[in-house]
């Protein structure tokens, strides 16, 4: 832990000399971490990931993966990273097994090694039974698992996942998360992912960066970000008809207390720890708590806090829209 696996400094991409897609961003991803990139459409997520996986050249700034510069040592970077793209890139006319071998060939891995690896990977993603079926017969979940296997064929140190569960149903999405957790646990792999689904980021990522208008607006663990909003919301009511605002206020970590129609709305940090202390403080003075709820802020609120609530009508290229439509359509088969 502690070592920076990905490091970006002032990373910038300008398209056609005018459209600033990514604007001087700095961040680092530590060894063994799952790092999530969140942001609205057109915020610069895909542009950032495309620069890190060396298919786009940065206009300005620098980034490195395991110490290799993405601009000057692109081939070294390509050898140690794995990529699971947003789209289903597996060839429809080939079988799952052939697709993995094709990916291995792109890394120059000898047939001897790649055949063994393909068998292992198919096993890992539970696809061995379908390995000789053409990809066109696969369901969305199977396609996603195949993409995952292809992305792992070179035993990458860092795996990049672009919207790994786009268009998948809840069961398949949950299963995909499990695979990702396994990768992290068993292989100690560092993962960099972009996503639209906030509950996905919340349950998978160790740290999250929210990006908007090409700039990183906040970075932190999901917990930190949620606490950053001012903590959890506790609402309670007591039997006695007295004002206990001052009493609650004195409890440690309580930040704000408001009385509304006989219930107290309390903003407090570390809600699950603070709540018992509040109850204890009230009980000691002889008050009886009759009603209590504890709500933790969700990442949704964090996200909206930083990116605003207005709808995004950013223009997207026809190509991007088409690719996304194809992905969703194939996922739903």
């Amino acid at each position: 832990m502690g070592e920076d696996v990905i490091k970006a400094e002032g990373l910038t991409k300008v398209f056609n000399h005018s459209l600033v897609a990514v604007d001087h961003i700095d961040f680092s991803v530590k060894q063994g971490e799952v790092f999530g990139f969140l942001g609205p459409n057109g915020a610069g997520k895909t542009t950032t990931i495309n620069m890190l996986i060396t298919i786009l050249k940065p206009t300005e700034g620098e980034a490195s993966v395991l110490g290799y510069s993405i601009a000057r040592e692109a081939n070294a970077v390509r050898n140690i990273i794995g990529v699971v793209p947003q789209e289903y890139t597996a060839d429809e006319d080939l079988t799952g097994y052939e697709n993995i071998l094709l990916c291995a060939d792109l890394y120059g891995i000898s047939r001897e090694i790649s055949e063994k690896r393909a068998a292992d990977l198919l096993n890992l993603v539970e696809m061995t039974a379908f390995k000789d079926k053409k990809v066109q017969t696969y369901s969305g979940g199977m396609r996603r698992r195949l993409e995952l296997a292809c992305g792992l064929v070179n035993r990458p140190k860092v795996l990049f996942l672009d919207e790994p569960t786009l268009g998948l149903d809840v069961q398949t999405r949950t299963a995909t998360w499990e695979y990702i957790r396994t990768l992290k646990k068993e292989f100690g792999m560092t993962l960099f992912m972009t996503t639209h689904y906030l509950e996905e980021a919340d349950s998978l990522c160790d740290r999250i960066a929210i990006i908007d208008h090409g700039k990183i607006v906040v970075v932190g663990s999901p917990e930190e970000l949620k606490h950053g909003l001012g903590g959890d919301l506790i609402t309670l009511a007591i039997k006695e008809n007295e004002d206990v605002t001052g009493l609650i206020q004195k409890v440690e970590h309580v930040k704000e207390v408001r009385k509304e129609d006989g219930t107290y709305r309390i903003k407090a940090e570390f809600g699950e720890v603070t709540t018992p202390f509040i109850i204890e403080a009230l009980r000691r003075k002889g008050y009886t708590v009759t009603k209590l709820t504890l709500t933790e802020p969700t990442l949704n609120e964090v996200y909206l806090e930083y990116t605003g609530r207005s709808l995004r009508d950013t223009e997207e290229s026809g190509e991007a829209v088409f690719a996304q439509r194809m992905t969703v359509r194939r996922a739903r088969r």
Binding site: T54, L56, P85, D93, L106, Y107, G108, I113, N154
Partner: protein
């Protein structure tokens, strides 16, 4: 650790894998494969017979009117018949370099099947781009040149295979090899076809790799198809064309490819002319392939 993350020694790794990926789409799909074989049969069988110019001047179609025939003895009539037969084969040889029009046009067909296959198979690059495969390949250590070359090679190999099939089919349909033909000449035919296919497919890939819509390359193909086909010596000899068309046909690289193939297959080979054909096609291929690959390369390194 030792077996992983090896920086691959060869700069060309993945070339065969990517080429074979394209070819598999064709030879592993029975319907597509059979259709590509049926198409040349239809062309040769229908077009070859419909456009059979030798029937127009064939002596077999001449019957003497009775009042004319009665003025000659039988021996004189057969001499006359021979005279007309000689005349018609003179006309055919003068125009087409052979008395067999189907041989003349089969060679044109070979070259054009190669052209069409090249043009259409280059379109797969548009799909690779739209479906994300191109980006996936770009994120691996495979060389950018290999990505482009695999497209060029798969188009070229497929075209050459089809050209070979047409030749095989043409033989039972009446294809006549020239007096100086020997089986080694076939290697020459494939060599010149290889050159033209390399050049044309590099050009089409450079166009296609930039287009995000499948309609764009379709329009380009349709635009170029007709002039390349008919402003050439594929179906009709250049020296019998109007002079403005001759000018167009003589800068059409297809004309030289076809003439080269004819020199090797059906004519009494004129080696000077053959060397000239190879030189022109070779230069064309070298220039266009370089431009095509450089343009594609620059696009991929944006």
């Amino acid at each position: 650790m030792s077996e992983l993350n090896q920086i691959s020694k060869s700069k060309l790794h993945g070339l065969w894998a990517l080429t074979n990926r394209e070819l598999k789409k064709w030879y592993k799909a029975p319907v597509v494969f059979v259709l590509t074989l049926v198409q040349p049969v239809l062309w040769l069988g229908l077009l070859g017979n419909a456009l059979n110019f030798s029937n127009l001047v064939s002596a077999g179609s001449i019957t003497f009117p009775p009042d004319l025939a009665s003025q000659f003895t039988v021996a004189q009539l057969s001499a006359l018949n021979q005279f007309f037969q000689g005349l018609s084969s003179q006309i055919l040889t003068g125009a087409f370099g052979t008395t067999s029009y189907i041989s003349f046009m089969a060679v044109g067909m070979i070259a054009f099947t190669a052209l069409f296959t090249t043009m259409f198979s280059g379109m797969s690059v548009v799909w690779d781009r739209r479906l994300g495969f191109l980006n996936k390949a770009l994120s691996t250590p495979v060389s950018r040149a290999v990505i482009i070359l695999s497209k060029v090679f798969s188009a070229t190999l497929r075209s050459m295979f089809q050209a070979g099939i047409i030749l095989l089919i043409a033989v039972p349909l009446g294809f006549e090899f020239g007096p100086s033909f020997n089986p080694l000449n076939l290697l020459g035919v494939f060599a010149i076809l290889f050159l033209i296919c390399m050049g044309l497919s590099s050009m089409f890939i450079a166009i296609n790799i930039r287009s995000t819509r499948i309609e764009t390359p379709m329009a380009v193909v349709n635009l170029l198809n007709l002039p390349l086909t008919f402003a050439s010596n594929a179906f009709f000899p250049i020296d019998r064309m109007p002079s403005w068309l001759q000018a167009v046909a003589s800068v059409n690289p297809m004309s030289y490819t076809i003439d080269g193939c004819r020199q090797l297959l059906i004519f009494n080979t004129n080696y000077m002319q053959l060397a000239w054909d190879f030189a022109i096609v070779g230069i064309f291929a070298a220039i266009v392939t370089t431009i095509g690959i450089v343009l594609s390369w620059r696009f991929l390194n944006k």
